[in-house]
Each structure stands twice: as structure tokens, then as C-alpha cells.
Amino acid sequence: MRNLLWLQGGACSGNTLSLLNASDPDVFEFFSQHNIKLLWHPSLSLDSIGVKRIMEDIINGKIRLNIFVFEGSVILGPNNSGTFNMFAGKPMKDWVKYLAPLSEYIIAVGDCASFGGIPAADPNPTQSTGLQFFKKEIGGFLGKNFRTKSGLPIINISGCPAHPDWILTTISLISEGKMTEDMLDEFNRPKIFYSTTTQFGCPRQPYFTYKISSKELGHKEGCLYFDLGCRGAYTKSPCNSILWNNQSSKTRVGTPCMGCTEFDFPTFNFFHTEKNRSGIPKRLPLGMSRGTYVTFSAVAKGSAPQFLVRPLIKKKGDWIE
């Protein structure tokens, strides 16, 4: 039996609700199959015993904390008091500080817990940070060298929210004792989910390859990178291979990828591609140099299959280029 405690800091509950969308298995089946005891969860517990008692019992050694899941940013403000986020009589940050060293594994679920996310966005009015990263910088609330009792750093499952499959698979790897440090990327995210970009599996990928842009929202065809702000070419996420709600993804419904699995989310000016003076997007696809991009674009554009440059299903307007 492994004990799991789930707390929320500067959170919107989006990761909790995302978790409830898990299917095959659903979250409760999963917990019973994996012999996980939910010590407490803010939305799901009946709380016959108080969470405060549970947390105190962990702190004084009566309860073992195997998996500590944290959702939301760690709020330090105002003036490092943490009192913008009070929980069970204390600033949440203090509970985290006491519980973290006693945890065998810690999962930061969502972009806020991983990197600070939305609350940490400029001007960061609450002094929010992630558990072990502040945006790109390692450190965060717990510090660069912090290790849980298992020896692993905080495992980040970034995303706003994280997909339930990413969360449950990570918990299963932990509870089966299969999670090792070399399974994590440079931001301590499980590589199985964060090695490919959002483009993998995006149905608009052929349009990306041949530099065919969708000029306006509301269409199924054309790539959203060149004009409409899609961050899928430089965001690591499996959103187009592990679909959302078993159905779809942002780019499939014509919404540009917002880059919500990355440390710099939210980058703002969404729905718009910032370009330099020669009209080239400021942010290039991951791992591509400006020179290569220019050469490659010219070739690609010239060799675009004719059937892709106009709407495939007849529809009025000239929204594709």
C-alpha cells in the first residue's frame, strides 16, 4: 500500500478535473489496481479525519508519505510571507517545506507546480514559483539540490493542465518502482511524454512541411505556425498523439498550440506569430537554425503539392496560402 497526498497551491483545480477525465482505467480503478491509498485530496476526500491531522502525522512520523502530488504554484507573496495562500491555518508554502523532505516521491502536476505557470506570469503579483524550477531556472521553491527520499528530484508533469494519461502513467511507474532519474529530461519531465513536439501527430503537419499557412482562424486546413501563433513546432508535448478527452487536440480544432507544457508558458500574444523584418517567425522550429530554415522554406514552398495549396473541401474564402 502506497500513501498519496494531493495538495493545491496557487491552482485552478484544472489538473484535478483533468485527472477525473482519465479512462481505462479511471482514477479510482487505477488507485485500487495500484494499491494506492489516497490520504487526502481537496475535491475527492470525504475527510472524516482532517487533512491537518494527516499532515501533522506525516510530519511527526506516524504516516509514511510515498507520493506527494502538488498542483498549482507555490505562492511566496506578499513579501515572502506566503499568506496569499493560507491552508489549514498556515501558509501553504510552509506545509510544502515540512512535507517535501519526508516524501518518497514528489510530482509537480501542471505547469504552475512545475515552473510557476500562470500565477508567476509577469508581473507575478503573488511571487509564485514552481516546486523546483522558476520558469527556466532550476531552483524554484525547494532549491536546486533538493532530492526526495527516493533520491529523485521533483518529477514535473508540465502542461496546463497535464493530461490524465501522463499523470497516471507517471504514478504507475513510481508505484511499480520503475522510475529512474535518466527517464527524466532537462526539466525533470518524463521523457516518454516530453521528447516529441506537439507537431507529432498534428494533422496539419503536411502544411507545415510545405510552408502552407492558414491565414485565418476557423478552418481545418493549413498550418497555424506561420501566422496564427502556433507554438507546436517548439513545444514538447504528446497532445497530438495522446489525444485529449479521447477525442482531439487544440491544433485539430484549429486553435494554435499555446505552449503550455513549457517553462515559459504563458508567453502572451497568443494567436499571433511574431516575425522579424524579413518576415520570418521569430521563434523557429526546435533545433533549426535561421539559415536552414530560410533555405528549407524556399525549397519546401516551391515543391508544395498542388492539391494542398487550395482548400481540399470546397469552401468559400481564401484563407489558405
Binding site: I49, G50, V51, I75, T83, G218
Partner: protein, 510 residues
């Protein structure tokens, strides 16, 4: 006197504490307290107007789609966007799918599980309640876990993902669905209706349920279809005296919902669910003008630059204070509506939405029982039944090949607001744009409307009214208070605290 602080009051989305003062077993003062501040309105300043479509859904993980709909309506107004009928239909379908998800999760995962509380152990129907509604094991609970997520699939078909899709944009939606998408969404809603709504929630046919018009009809339904959860709730709920607690404000308010696709406008939209206020004392309806809305921060951890006055959201300010203060106690602002020259503190939520829409069953129930915990839950069932129908109607109206988006013109300076019904009540967004950037953004959430603190005239808000006067059977197990708060589906991320006195301080989990 005995003071209790119930902290955290869980199973609300976010952080709510409730401070109540008892005299004997009776609540004489009540203060809902929000202990979390995230500063979203501050973050939105100076960003691009469209960024609100990505940032504001993250205010709340359970009703992000409602925030998106409010935000997009505010932008439609600011940009004077024309929105093609297809787009309005898809927005409506998404908004209602999110509401369906929320109504099911609220009812079973947040509210009904309290029926296993030890207070009810001696009731002869206790075993039946546990079999149905116990967390993790109850038959209806399990069905709710399974079926609530299917609503999110409908959302994702058009919104890409739930939570936190951003597929509504001024001028329409980003999606361009094909007939197979419509077919699939219809398949899912039909399956939810036949396998969950009819079998588990209602216990009988939906179209017949929608005909119920009076308390008498509901009694008859409970006899004809005794196995539906609504029948059990209606019978057990009165035995447990849920119809006697949680009255509160006698003004029920709804911003109205589901704009007509054929003639969409933002200023004075034709709405499927009416917008207005119902005075329960007189049963009189009034229309709503957003210009009459005000926010106060007398007891909230904020300051206004011109002192303690009510500000309309277009002029609203968000200047947080450190939460140490003798006379302030919450991060929730106070919402007031000026009705015929008087400031009122209305109730919002499913009950208000159904009442303002003049739903005959709800009106008859209100006439006979007044507003209370039981009716709020009944209203959730009624609403869920109605929205299933509307989702199907809207899907049928979709015209493949017609546009789902029309690009609006850029406007560098403008204003707009969007008023919608989120699952837990009325929600409004106000945006002021200058130099193509957000100059001011203010959000009024349902939880704030219900659970704000006193205004500067000392008038208390709906939730405090609903709690004060409640007799709690066992102060160590104040489940009655939990029912009252939870019947509003309190949502503290959008914004809430219980207990006071000087004899004894204790921290209680409900």
C-alpha cells in the same frame, strides 16, 4: 459563544474557510473567507486583448469554458464582431457540455456523498443512500464518474480539450467541424441521456420528465419512477429537512445563457435562458442592466484608490493587501446590484437560473418551499435534463459548409462585457482596451456574488444570510453548514472561511 473555523472546507474548488459563531447550536454570525489570491486581473493588464482567451479560462479548472465564453462575448462586443450562426451554436454546445459535466460532478462527487454522514445513520433509508451515493463505491457515484467525463468529450470535439480549451475567439470559433464530428457529439449526448440521465438520475423518460410542472407532478413522478435519484432525493431530502435550511437572499439572479444563433448580438441578446432577477417575496421579475453592478472592498483584502466606494467593473481595481488586517477577512470582493435604487445581495446558481427562466416546476417548488438546499439540488437535475435537449437541438441546427468564423476588424480602443451563466451561477467579464492592449480587466464570479463579505453599509451577502439562523444538531459535526455551502457548489478558486467566538477555537474539517 463558541467559535469554529472550518478550514479548509474541502470539496470546493479551491480554498474556502468558514468562520461561524454559534450561540448554543444556532449560527449567529457567518463569514465565508477566501484564502487564496492569484492576481489574474493584474496579470492581464497590458497584455493583448486576445490573451484573455488563454488566461481567463485558467481562473477555474471546472468552469474554464464559462470564463472563455464570457471573455469571448466581451471581445465580440469590443470588436463589434459579427458571429456566424454556426459559431454561436458550437459555443453554446461547448458551454452546455461543460455545464453538464459540472452538474453531474457537483451533484455526485461534491454534494450527495455527504448523505453518508453519521447524522443520518439512524434514518431507515440510510443504507439505500450509502448504496447509491457513497464516495467511490456507490452505484450512482460510480456512474457519475463514468458519465461526467463523456460531456468533456463533446467539449473536446469542438474545443480541442477540456479543461482549458481556447477555441472561442471574437468572430466565432476556431473549429471547422465536419458532419462526422456532429454525428459523434450527438451519439455521445444520446448515450449519456439514455444510460445515465434516464437510468440513474431521473429513473424514467427524459421527455416525460420535462413535462413536470408542479410539486404534485414531482410527487407523482417519484411514485411512478421511484428508483431515480431525483425521486430518492425529493423524498429523503425532506426527511433530512434539507428543505428547511439555507434560505439566504430572497433575490434570485441570473445573467441568462445560450444566445440565439440566428440573431446574435452582445448588447441585448435573445437568450434561451432568460436574464433577470426574481424577488421571492413578491415573485416579481426585473430585468438586468450591467451598469447597475458594483463591487466593494470594505471587508476584502484590497484597497481602492478613492476609498471605500462601490466601483463598476469597468472602473474596477485589483490592489491586493497583505492579509493581516483587523477589519478585513477575505480575498473575495463584495458584489452588489442596484435594484430600484437599493443595493441587493442576490443568490446565483442553478436554482436562480431555472427560476429566472420561469421554469414552472421550479417556480411551483419555490412558491411552496422557498429557496433552500434541497431545491438547489433539484434545480441541478432539472437543468441537466433541459440542457441535454438543447445540446441536441443546437447540433441539429449546425450547417456544414457555412462559416464558423468571421474575422472582426481591429479596434485599438474599446470596451466590452460578457455575461453568462457558469455552472455555479452568474459570471461576468469586463474588458477595457486602450492602444490595442488590455487597460483593465475585471471578473465577477458566481462564488463572489454568493459569498462576498459585507458591503460598506454592513449588509451581508447571500451565503452569510443562508447560514445565519441554522440550527446545527452536533457542533462537532456541523454537516448542515456543509450542505448549505456545498449546495452552491462553492468555487474558491474563483475565490472563500467558518467560525467565531471567544470561548473555544477549533479547526474542523467537514
Amino acid at each position: 459563544m463558541n467559535e469554529k473555523i472550518i478550514s479548509p472546507l474541502n470539496r470546493v474548488e479551491g480554498d474556502l474557510d468558514l468562520k461561524v459563531v454559534f450561540r448554543g447550536n444556532k449560527v449567529i454570525e457567518a463569514y465565508p473567507m477566501s484564502r487564496l489570491f492569484r492576481g489574474i486581473e493584474i496579470i492581464l493588464k497590458n497584455k493583448y486583448p486576445m490573451d484573455s482567451l488563454v488566461i481567463t479560462p485558467r481562473i477555474c479548472g471546472i468552469c474554464g469554458g464559462s470564463h472563455l465564453m464570457s471573455a469571448v462575448e466581451a471581445l465580440d462586443m469590443a470588436y463589434k464582431a459579427e458571429v456566424p450562426p454556426n459559431a454561436v451554436l458550437l459555443r453554446n454546445i461547448m458551454a452546455l457540455a461543460e455545464m453538464g459535466q459540472n452538474d453531474v460532478r457537483h451533484t455526485y462527487l461534491m454534494f450527495m456523498i455527504d448523505t453518508v454522514n453519521k447524522k443520518y445513520e439512524k434514518m431507515d433509508f440510510y443504507k439505500d443512500m450509502v448504496t447509491r451515493w457513497a464516495p467511490f463505491y456507490g452505484t450512482s457515484y460510480k456512474a457519475a464518474v463514468k458519465w461526467s467525463k463523456r460531456y468533456t468529450e463533446i467539449y473536446a470535439i469542438f474545443g480541442g480539450q477540456w479543461p482549458h480549451g481556447s477555441s472561442m475567439v471574437p468572430g466565432g470559433v476556431t473549429a471547422d467541424p465536419y458532419p462526422n464530428d456532429i454525428l459523434k457529439a450527438r451519439g455521445i449526448i444520446n448515450e449519456i441521456t439514455s444510460e445515465f440521465i434516464e437510468k440513474v438520475m431521473l429513473g424514467g423518460p427524459l421527455d416525460q420528465f420535462l413535462q413536470l410542472k408542479s410539486v404534485k407532478d414531482l410527487d407523482q413522478w417519484s411514485q411512478d419512477y421511484p428508483n431515480g435519484d431525483i425521486s430518492k432525493l425529493w423524498i429523503y431530502g425532506r426527511e433530512m429537512k434539507w428543505d428547511k435550511i439555507g434560505k439566504g437572499s430572497n433575490f434570485l439572479m441570473s445573467f441568462g445563457h445560450v444566445p440565439s444563433a440566428e440573431d446574435y448580438t452582445t448588447e441585448n441578446p435573445k437568450l434561451r435562458f432568460k436574464r433577470g432577477i426574481l424577488n421571492l417575496d413578491t415573485m416579481e421579475f426585473s430585468s438586468i442592466d450591467q451598469a447597475n453592478m458594483l463591487e466593494f472592498v470594505t471587508k476584502s483584502f484590497y484597497s481602492y484608490s478613492n476609498g471605500d466606494i462601490g466601483l463598476h467593473p469597468f472602473e474596477g481595481e485589483t490592489n491586493p493587501l497583505s492579509p493581516f488586517s483587523n477589519d478585513k477577512y477575505t480575498f473575495t470582493k463584495t458584489f452588489r446590484y442596484k435594484l430600484n435604487g437599493k443595493l441587493i445581495a442576490p443568490e446565483v446558481g442553478a436554482l436562480s437560473m431555472m427560476a429566472v427562466d420561469n421554469n414552472p416546476l421550479i417556480i411551483d417548488l419555490l412558491n411552496k418551499l422557498g429557496s433552500n438546499v434541497l431545491l438547489r439540488e433539484i434545480a441541478r437535475f432539472v437543468r441537466l435534463a433541459i440542457i441535454s435537449e438543447i445540446i441536441i437541438e443546437e447540433l441539429e441546427k449546425f450547417r456544414f459548409g457555412e462559416p464558423t468564423y468571421k474575422k472582426p476588424l481591429d479596434i485599438a480602443e474599446s470596451k466590452g462585457y460578457g455575461l453568462v451563466e457558469a455552472s455555479r451561477g452568474s459570471l461576468g467579464h469586463w474588458i477595457v482596451i486602450k492602444d490595442n492592449k488590455i487597460f483593465n480587466y475585471q471578473v465577477v464570479t458566481p462564488t463572489q456574488i454568493n459569498m462576498g463579505p459585507e458591503d460598506s453599509y454592513g449588509n451581508i451577502s447571500h451565503m452569510s444570510k443562508a447560514l445565519i439562523g441554522t440550527i446545527v444538531e452536533d457542533i462537532e459535526n456541523p454537516i448542515e453548514l456543509a450542505h448549505i455551502v456545498r449546495s452552491h457548489d462553492a468555487c474558491m478558486v474563483c475565490n472563500v472561511h467558518v467560525l467565531d467566538g471567544n470561548v473555544e477555537k477549533m479547526v474542523l474539517r467537514l
